[in-house]
């Protein structure tokens, strides 16, 4: 299992039955493949649909049915489509139970930076600022470090995406929960020690007495 799949599997355990979830482009998209069996999760794509499914077989793509990255998708039975004003009314209005987004940095205040690297190309924030501000729960799925530098930092050096404190970070090394008092180390990746997590982390982590290993499937439904 590569670390991307591991992160996606762990994030998938955060999904709740009958919830509305938005997955960002890239790693977060993988989460849809690991929805625990029996859970009915409705996925929203901010370009205007709830209830979309996987990419259709070749030759069955519909030019009017894509995800926010422009990739072809399908519509599940019971899907609903709508315009951008409605889509962001859902996001900003607290109707989105969870969003999973990639990250560049998360700091000790639980703030996320994921849209801009000053001095480099400027892609733009797209829907990220609305998603982080409006979703009931924000989960960041990312590698713990990039080019040897920790992405869990004392204080953001990149521009924040929102002033809001995010709810959970899942990396290839750990699960971290930002709290008012700081970053709580909740879990460590399989085979990774607490010491290894701390060594790879710039920010100060609150380390409880026991830090269990990250589960990758629900105990009642073992990994396929």
């Amino acid at each position: 299992m590569d670390t991307r799949e591991m992160i996606a599997r762990r994030v998938a355990l955060e999904l709740r039955d009958r919830s509305l979830v938005n997955l960002g482009i890239g790693l977060p998209t993988l989460v849809a493949r690991f929805v625990p069996p029996g859970l009915r999760v409705a996925f929203q794509s901010e370009n205007g649909i709830i209830g979309f499914g996987a990419r259709p077989p070749e030759g069955m793509e519909d030019p009017n049915l894509t995800d926010a990255g422009g990739g072809f998708i399908t519509a599940d039975p019971g899907a609903a489509s709508f315009d951008s004003a409605m889509s962001f009314a859902l996001i900003r209005g607290g109707h989105l139970d969870m969003t999973v987004l990639g990250g560049l940095q998360v700091d000790e205040a639980g703030r996320l930076a994921n849209w801009l690297v000053p001095g480099k190309l400027v892609p733009g924030m797209g829907g990220a600022m609305d998603l982080v501000t409006g979703a009931r729960r924000v989960v960041v799925a990312m590698q713990h470090a990039a080019r040897g530098e920790s992405k869990i930092v004392r204080r953001l050096t990149l521009p924040p995406t929102s002033a809001r404190r995010i709810d959970l970070v899942v990396t290839d090394l750990a699960v971290i929960e930002p709290r008012p008092e700081g970053l709580l180390l909740r879990e460590r990746a399989p085979g990774v020690t607490v010491e290894a997590v701390l060594a790879a982390t710039e920010a100060t982590l609150i380390v409880p007495g026991e830090v269990p290993e990250m589960p990758l499937a629900r105990p009642d439904r073992p990994l396929a």
């Binding site: 649909i49 009017n64 422009g70 924040p160």
Partner: protein
């Protein structure tokens, strides 16, 4: 019953330097025929308000490549490296707006509202220079309404009174833009007789649409 115009006639209505709202999301739901005609007539100095600048060779990406666009007000340019190059080369100004704020600013422009009070962007670069208004103790950014000289729309069906429907994720910004421009020009995949679109299926009443492209030949 109203008469359609050709794509070239539509492009001729739009002067150099005009501000345009253009529907579409990474090219899905953009009015390609009107865009092609604007490129063909060599439009210059346009301000484009849209979700994004699509990709090279697609939708708004064609306007960017052809040098028609002086300024873009969009939520991202991540899918179009040509826009990024032109921005860095100083050939094009890019103003970035959070996607939900963009949708709501356009809606406010079309709905006669004075602005948008949103929590999105507070504490970020998107808040710079903007007033913060407190309502019941919670702070909100005051974002200004957006309007344009023209809205260029992609519809699924149109009837001869110019009532419009949209399809799936090709809907995106088209319906809000239909409300927020002085002159609204639409192109539709299909043109049907008046009365064929049920009243509940109409998403943009024809009274809002000034011009419809006639059927492609």
């Amino acid at each position: 019953m109203r008469k359609g115009i050709t794509a070239a006639e539509a492009a001729a209505l739009i002067p150099d330097g005009a501000s345009l709202m253009i529907g579409g999301f990474v090219g899905v739901g953009s009015p390609e025929r009107i865009i092609d005609a604007l490129v063909a007539r060599g439009a210059r100095g346009l301000t484009v308000i849209a979700n994004d600048t699509a990709r090279p060779g697609i939708g708004i990406g064609k306007l960017v490549e052809a040098g028609c666009v002086a300024r873009a007000i969009v939520s991202h340019i991540g899918t179009n490296p040509v826009t990024q190059q032109k921005m860095l080369a100083g050939e094009m100004a890019v103003e970035l707006v959070p996607q939900g704020t963009l949708a709501e600013r356009i809606r406010a422009g079309g709905a006669g509202l004075g602005g948008v009070l949103t929590p999105t962007g507070l504490g970020t670069l998107a808040a710079e220079g903007k007033p913060v208004i407190e309502v019941d103790g919670r702070p909100f950014l005051l974002e200004r309404p957006l309007r344009a000289g023209f809205a260029l729309l992609h519809a699924q069906e149109a009837d001869h009174e110019f009532n419009l429907t949209y399809r799936l994720t090709a809907t995106n910004f088209n319906p809000v833009m239909a409300m927020a421009a002085d002159c609204v020009i639409a192109e539709a995949v299909e043109i049907v007789p008046v009365g064929v679109i049920p009243p509940d299926a109409v998403r943009t009443p024809g009274i809002l649409v000034h011009h419809l492209l006639e059927r492609a030949h």
